[in-house]
């Protein structure tokens, strides 16, 4: 298991040449080898969704994917969401609507929502609630997350 594989991760448009064991999770590679600690680990068994990133535009649990499976894909993480100092509409609506408390689940929710809304900007409220039930939050009771995503969705449609 200790033979390392050399590979390159493409994250938020930047290239990260890394050398990892085949068993290393994508989440660990992003956090430890690329230094992108905005992606959080909450359960490491694919339930909580805190580690959600976009792989070729689709939301993926980065704890359930090996880094070596991420050759030749485009990865987006929370660090790439804002445009310089300008927050993404989702980030801004989370802020304005108190969509976060401790903030630990927030990157996962942001990436889940951005992936879902980019795929289908016209999701109904019920569909949005259903999508957001993929991830766990323990602080907010979800209502401000749902509100923030709805408002951001409206903004992103403009």
């Amino acid at each position: 298991m200790t033979d390392k594989v050399s590979m390159t991760l493409k994250v938020n448009g930047s290239l990260y040449p890394i050398s990892v064991e085949p068993r290393r999770s994508l989440a660990d590679a992003l956090r430890e080898d690329c230094g992108l600690t905005g992606t959080h680990l909450g359960c490491e068994h694919g339930v909580c969704g805190a580690c959600t990133v976009l792989v070729d535009s689709k939301p993926v649990r980065s704890c359930l994917m090996f880094a070596v499976q991420a050759n030749d894909v485009e990865i987006r993480t929370v660090e790439g969401l804002a445009n310089g100092d300008v927050l993404h509409p989702l980030q801004r609506q989370f802020w304005e609507n108190h969509g976060l408390q401790c903030g630990f689940c927030t990157p996962g929710f942001l990436m889940l929502a951005v992936g879902a809304l980019e795929a289908d900007p016209n999701m109904t409220d019920e569909e949005l609630r259903e999508v957001l039930s993929s991830n766990l939050c323990r602080c907010t009771g979800y209502q401000n997350i749902i509100k923030a995503v709805k408002l951001a969705a409206a903004e992103m449609r403009k």
Partner: protein, 763 residues
């Protein structure tokens, strides 16, 4: 305009939104080792040997410790509610002689890399002579460690409290209503697991532990005592913290091991818990059985109440000592007069994960018990659910109301309360009569819809004191140094709003420091809904003192009388001439930092209160319970930031729904935990969650602090089990059906069947 009372955006959010948070796992130091804990695979038994030879020889492994390697480190002591007799039941840092629960630390591996550490931990073999697990807290006490502590049984203490003449109450009773209720084992489960990183600086000799939470100052002193470090040789530092809920930040074995590792191995040591470990090793909570007996007169007034309860404390007594049972015993009578009361609370140990506090500790359980009793009394006497409560509520003219018992070492004196008023207003707000009529209408059409309500008392603002220091920095920033901790609840914003009110400086121009033992010598931390009450009051005192000092300095600079100056919009203004001086100018033209401090003292807690109303629908086929509407009426005294209060209430209510319908730590007969992943320990998602409606009242400010505030952290949770239980009873038209929680579909189905059989056998 004052910043107090406004729903301002939080000043702490930006880094969290950008992925720039600094959580425990995000710290990294050059040369760091990773620690992995080897945990007991069995629930109970004597340790014959721990074989770590193979692990020690594995690649990357630097050390493996068992209890013998740290024999000089004492067990973890109590932070709160130290009761005579508890000492022998404290948890050792690594298991000694016996293991007492699945997940108990028996060894630790230190390695270069987390994968290597896990590989090696798998090769540590713990040979245990297994004994039958003791899992029922209501059964006769069993031996704690039969060979090493012979005669010591699993009931460390019984908490007894009483007032009034209970015998007379029962002698005069028209009705005696008895009830046994139980609340299951569940806990906080923050989405960030626990973690810590300790670094020993050889040049300064100071050991710093990052990843601190909740009570950094207490933990600093406790770790120093355990590792025999002199004062000043250890500091604790808090980064971002991914949720607390009572369980995070208590001193656990892993914190001590990380610090000992860094000291003894001479390298930084990092430990990050995985989720399975968290569910097996971090504090559990709740799990109480109450046996209630009420003496009631012919109008439904409770003359006396007797309770015997059992708290399943798990395998050891941890830092909270008797806290949960003490609070349960003291606050069971809640908002009602109940002139006579006697309670015996048995603290019982079992072979489960040790327990501590979880949001609304002792109150979620006792509110369920007491409010289910109120419903039982109503049913027995043919009274309305609201009426039975009105008859018993403590009237406004009896406030402040001395309960004549103590909780957490303070006298329970309800500071103020308009209970009848809040009940009326909340029922009006929800349209209670219409709600009941609509439910009855839907039931007539075949749906199973019901309404439940519950009244509760919370407590907040635990003292005895707090210190805040406020300073004007050279760049005009106001730095507010507190000894409080942030667990994600919005501490920085709330404290900044309070200081802004005094200083008339925008909250964005403030920096609120918390969780840094090196920055302030006193700090009590974040628990018991104390932050806004205690730290907030100290912050108000400090910021007003700072304002006066700034004006004095400015008076000198401006050659004016300080009494004619005011602070407004980040400037000093002379009222008469309207000449101004920027705060930055004041700071720059003063050789010293302008600084002031504020102490706030409180001998008593204060007591927020409220009403929860639930509307549920039970699926007739699956017995799944859907919460259609949930309203929390809450008297807070004064809301510093209503949006943040709402956030606290909503988050807490959803956790309460989890405890009522979903979450439970189940064990098999061997003491193996069956809920050790998120696939088995079910928490609410956005699918199961209704919008929590908040009906927040500021009708009754607390007279106990200058802000008039009460805590917001727990009241959203306290009565959820009780209200949902009542609503399910109503939906199924089965009074007294729900006598235990949680009620997942299969459990509820079984309860209904049992209820109908019992009803049939009575015919």
């Amino acid at each position: 305009m004052s910043a107090i009372g406004r729903s301002l955006k939080r000043i702490e959010d930006r880094p969290l939104l950008l992925g720039q948070g600094q959580f425990a796992a995000d710290y990294r130091f050059e040369g760091q080792l990773v620690m992995r804990v080897v945990r007991s695979p069995v629930a109970f038994g004597r340790i014959l040997s721990v074989d770590a030879d193979e692990a020690r020889a594995m690649p990357g492994v630097v050390a493996v410790w068992t209890a013998a390697d740290i024999a000089d480190i004492p067990p973890i002591d109590f932070r709160m509610t130290r009761i005579k007799g508890l000492e022998p039941y404290r948890q050792p840092v690594l298991a000694r002689d016996y293991v007492r629960y699945v997940g108990e630390p028996v060894a630790v591996v230190f390695a270069e890399d987390v994968y290597q550490a896990e590989d090696a931990a798998d090769q540590v073999f713990c040979d245990v002579e297994e004994e039958a697990a003791h899992l029922d807290a209501t059964a006769s006490p069993a031996p704690f460690m039969p060979q090493s502590l012979p005669g010591l049984l699993s009931e460390p203490a019984v908490i007894s409290k009483s007032y009034g003449d209970l015998d007379k109450a029962f002698a005069n009773a028209k009705h005696i209503v008895e009830l046994e209720v139980a609340v299951g084992r569940h806990t906080g489960v923050p989405i960030e697991t626990r973690g810590a990183l300790a670094v020993h600086d050889r040049d300064t000799g100071v050991l710093t532990m990052y990843g601190a939470a909740k009570v950094p100052h207490y933990n600093r002193d406790a770790i120093a005592r355990m590792l025999q470090l002199p004062q000043g040789a250890i500091e604790l530092s808090e980064g971002h913290v991914g949720g607390g809920f009572g369980i995070r930040g208590e001193l656990y074995p892993e914190d001590v091991l990380v610090c000992a590792g860094a000291l003894r191995l001479g390298r930084p040591v990092k430990w990050i818990e995985d989720r399975r470990e968290h569910l097996l090793a971090a504090n559990h909570s709740r799990d109480q059985v109450h046996r209630l007996r009420a003496a009631v007169d012919d109008k439904g007034f409770i003359l006396g109440l007797e309770d015997e309860f059992f708290t399943d404390q798990g395998a050891y007594v941890r830092t909270h000592g008797g806290t949960v049972s003490d609070l349960a015993a003291a606050l069971l009578p809640g908002p009602y007069l109940i002139p006579a009361y006697r309670v015996n609370g048995h603290i019982r140990l079992t072979n489960k994960t040790p327990a501590g506090t979880y949001r609304a500790p002792g109150r979620y359980e006792t509110t369920f018990a007491r409010e289910r009793l109120m419903d039982a009394i109503a049913y027995r006497l043919g009274l309305d659910m609201v009426e039975v409560r009105r008859i018993n509520l403590i009237p406004e003219d009896r406030m402040p109301y001395d309960r004549k018992i103590d909780a957490l070492g303070t006298d329970v004196v309800y500071d103020a309360g308009k209970y009848q008023d809040l009940l009326t207003k909340t029922l009006d707000h929800v349209g209670y009569d219409d709600l009941r009529a609509e439910a009855a209408d839907r039931r007539a059409k075949g749906e199973r819809v019901g309404i439940g309500l519950a009244f509760f008392i919370e407590k907040s603002g635990l003292g005895p004191r707090d210190l805040v220091r406020a300073r004007l920095l050279k760049d005009g920033t106001i730095e507010v140094i507190t000894g409080v901790a942030s667990i994600g609840q919005g501490v920085e914003t709330v404290i900044a709003q309070i200081c802004s009110d005094a200083l008339s400086v925008e909250i964005e121009q403030m920096r609120v420091v918390h969780g840094q033992t090196s920055r302030i010598e006193v700090g009590l931390g974040a628990f018991a809904s104390r932050v806004t009450v205690m730290t907030g009051s100290a912050a108000q005192i400090a910021s007003r003192a700072l304002r006066d000092k700034i004006l004095d300095v400015a008076a000198n600079l401006m050659q004016k009388d300080a009494a004619e100056l005011m602070l407004i919009g980040g400037m000093v203004r002379h009222r008469l001439s309207n000449t101004t001086l920027q705060l930055t100018e004041v700071a720059e033209q003063t050789p010293d930092i302008i600084e002031a401090e504020g102490w706030f003292y409180a001998d008593h807690m204060n007591y927020p209160y409220g009403v929860h109303v639930a509307k549920v629908r039970v699926d007739p086929e699956t017995y799944g319970v859907k919460v259609e509407r949930y309203v929390v009426g809450y008297e807070i005294g004064r809301a510093i930031n209503p949006t943040l209060v709402h956030g606290q209430i909503a988050g807490a209510a959803v956790q309460g729904i989890g405890g009522a319908l979903l979450e439970e730590f189940v064990y098999n007969e061997a003491g193996q935990p069956l809920a050790a992943s998120f696939a088995d320990y079910l928490m609410p998602t956005s699918s199961e969650t209704p919008t929590i409606e908040m009906f927040l009242r500021e009708d009754c400010p607390s007279p106990q602090n200058p802000l008039g505030v009460r805590g917001a952290g727990e009241g959203g949770m306290t009565a959820v089990g009780a209200a949902i239980g009542a609503a399910v009873d109503d939906a199924l038209q089965s009074p007294g059906l729900v006598d235990r929680l949680p009620i997942g579909p299969s459990k509820l189905h079984a309860m209904v069947r049992q209820y109908r059989q019992a009803a049939a056998s009575r015919l």
